[in-house]
């Protein structure tokens, strides 16, 4: 709160709004849908939110640098299929398969980063191309056929540890690491600087070529991890993934206060954004809302989040 009073930490208020929305929604759902506040359902929300959340954490790095990564869902798909192939095809241990998938995500991210920082492509174009390339890669690797995995592999994406969903625990751990990187490491500072004003950063000796690729690699690694979560949940490498996942993840980051103009955004906000989307989806299912309406609600949610953000900015500017 103190940070908000001082007009600091720009994302603080949007986070507050997102957190408020999650709480209000949860309270409403508790009364409207008896099934909402049950341990099974909360567990499910944790499982379902993890994938979006993992992607949104990665995207936050990129969005802070004033970039965008449209390829996260496709690279998650590629990671999932490669990971599944390593385990089912090459007989690698599950851990190696997972690391392989995450690594593939990192490679895709590196490609994005080099296209943006070294070849000078606009992030939208670079990652749009990468999205299509990765889609092709998925089909090439899988021959458009699913790769089944042993049932025990569902531990990563849907397992339970002390009654808590394993994927959510992983995501929280990753979120803490990501948060520390953004706030306690110099690299984090450089991400914000590059997104806020690339020229100012350059004249301060901060090289975009050096640091931008890192943001995309981190984004790719997390997308790869999201892909492994999804593979684990379906206990198979799937040649067709949900392309909307990328947009959900972008929406989560934006709802959490990340600015697509760069220089603003927090990991905590991205998590809240993902959670809000997860709860809305969950509530809609519990209340038997027509699934098509769910998309309409999500879209409106994005408008609301950004409108709120703009109003906050104007207030801030007026006070100055």
């Amino acid at each position: 709160m103190n940070a908000i009073v001082r007009g600091h930490a720009t994302a603080a208020l949007s986070q507050l709004a997102a957190a408020g929305a999650v709480i209000v929604l949860a309270v409403v759902l508790t009364f409207a849908a008896p099934a909402f506040l049950t341990s099974t359902n909360l567990f499910n929300i944790g499982v379902q939110t993890s994938i979006t959340a993992a992607m949104a954490i990665g995207l936050t790095f990129v969005i802070i640098t004033a970039g965008i990564d449209l390829s996260v869902a496709a690279s998650a798909g590629l990671a999932g299929i490669v990971g599944a192939k390593l385990i089912a095809g090459a007989g690698a241990p599950a851990a190696i398969g997972i690391l392989g998938g995450v690594g593939i995500g990192g490679v895709v991210g590196l490609g994005n980063g080099l296209l943006v920082a070294w070849a000078g492509l606009a992030p939208f174009i670079a990652t749009l191309g990468m999205m299509i390339v990765a889609q092709g890669g998925v089909l090439l690797v899988s021959n458009a056929l699913p790769i089944p995995l042993p049932n025990s592999f569902d531990w990563l994406g849907a397992g339970s540890f002390e009654g808590l969903p394993v994927p959510a625990l992983f995501v929280v751990g990753l979120a803490i690491a990501a948060h520390l990187l953004l706030t306690r490491a110099k690299v984090g500072r450089y991400f914000y600087a590059l997104g806020s004003s690339p020229e100012a950063a350059r004249l301060s000796g901060i090289s975009a070529r050096r640091y931008l690729p890192l943001a995309y690699v981190l984004c790719g690694l997390l997308a790869g991890f999201a892909g492994m979560l999804s593979t684990s949940q379906t206990v198979s490498g799937q040649p067709n993934y949900d392309p909307n996942l990328a947009l959900d993840a972008i929406a989560a980051a934006v709802i959490g206060g990340a600015s697509l103009f760069g220089g603003e955004g927090t990991i905590f906000g991205a998590l809240l954004g993902a959670l809000l989307i997860g709860v809305v989806d969950n509530g809609a299912v519990l209340l038997n809302v027509n699934p098509y309406w769910q998309d309409v609600i999500l879209g409106a949610l994005i408008w609301l989040a950004v409108l709120f953000d703009q109003a906050r900015r104007r207030r801030l500017a007026a006070v100055g």
């Binding site: 306690r184 914000y192 950063a201 350059r202 000796g205 006070v319 100055g320």
Partner: protein, 495 residues
Amino acid sequence: MSGAVVEFRGVSKRFPGVEAVVDVSLAVQAGEVHAVAGENGAGKSTLMNLLAQRERPSEGEILVAGERVDFHGPRHAQRLGVAMVHQELALFPHLSVADNLSLGREPGPVRLRRRTELREARALLAQVGLAVSPHALVSALSVADQQLLELAKALAVDAKVVIMDEPTASLSSSEIGVLFDVVERLRADGIAVLYVTHRLEEIFRLADRVTVMRDGRLVQTLATSSIDEDKLVSLMVGRELANLYAKPNVEAGPVVLSVRNLTRRGVPHNCSFDVRAGEIVGLAGIIGAGRSELARAVFGAEPADEGVIEVDGRAISPRSPRDAMRAGVMYVTEDRKRDGLLLNRSVAENITLARVPGTRGMLNRRREVEIARGRVEALRIRTPSTDRLLRLLSGGSQQKVLVARGLETDARVMMFDEPARGIDIGAKAEVFALIARLAEQGKAILMISSYLPELLNMCDRILVMKDGRIVGELERDAFSEVRIGAMATSERLAS
């Protein structure tokens, strides 16, 4: 008062938390050039925005040509004959000159009437003495020409009163001459001109009367013939200001920065100069002479193709600002909004950006706040805390943050590009005092300014640039505005 083209009666404007304009009453006569002076944040621009109906007054009334004006927005103000030349250019870079001039007031209901538009455009361009084709794209025009175009646009509305907000901020001296001619012509045509400026000599050169504002209030309106510069400054600042330029008396030490035959395709061309420890060397020249380009080539921002740069006798060839900073060279940019500051980040982050404290990739936030607090105090940066977002600070404070960042690198060679641009007199004096202190510490300082008095007062030596070359060099005892002006504009002149 009869004959007043514009009259403010008890006008106030409050923003949340700020009283920008407080109870201002003022009458401006036809055919009068009326200067509005005051420091940043004094309320000059807000007052002008009220007249141009870009803001709605909180209290009071505004009369144009004796008629009380209700607030209906900028279009309405234009129809009443209030023309505003924007401080920040409000042109469309991808449209032609003629399109920009006719935009929003195209003749005819639907169809574009190209020929009429072109004819009108030519007439307007002639009126402001701007020799460009009406077909030219605005993006291809120099900043100065854009400024004149902006003026032409203002005149297009058949103005009774023209508001000019810092019109000379980005003009060179010859272009300023053209602008002054235009102002004189407006006066002769019986048009009232409200002229907002920081530059005192322009007030005395142009204005019949001057209104001084401070903290949103009107301090006094005076005939310019009845006061001198010192009096005007003390009215603006609210106290006696000892000395704007604190030139240090330092014995120059050994050569720190040595540049030989520095060339980059375009500009600079074959530039050679030295800067000694404790010396302040000025770079003079008209806009486009290549002064910033020279400094930026030394800084590696746009690396040189040829030539030798030495710092303390060691050759460096910076390919990026990072290289230059490692070699002890720092550059403080002229355009703080475009390539200087992180406006949506905190004061502390901005101050430490070029040298983030911490070890092994980790950030030491406590140290960062300490550093920032120290600089905020030493430079008297007006901010409630080091966490404050930079865009909430005044222009002067922002500039000081930029300077603080440069200082934080502790570079041997400091290059300041227009260090006092767009900041008020109090802040200016502080920035110059700071530069003086750096010289006393034995730094080698290169200073670029388009405002000659700054160079004449602060520098030990002045290099004059023209068309990317250094065309002249003057020692302090040979300084003269006339000679520098001649070198900066003449066709051939040996150094």
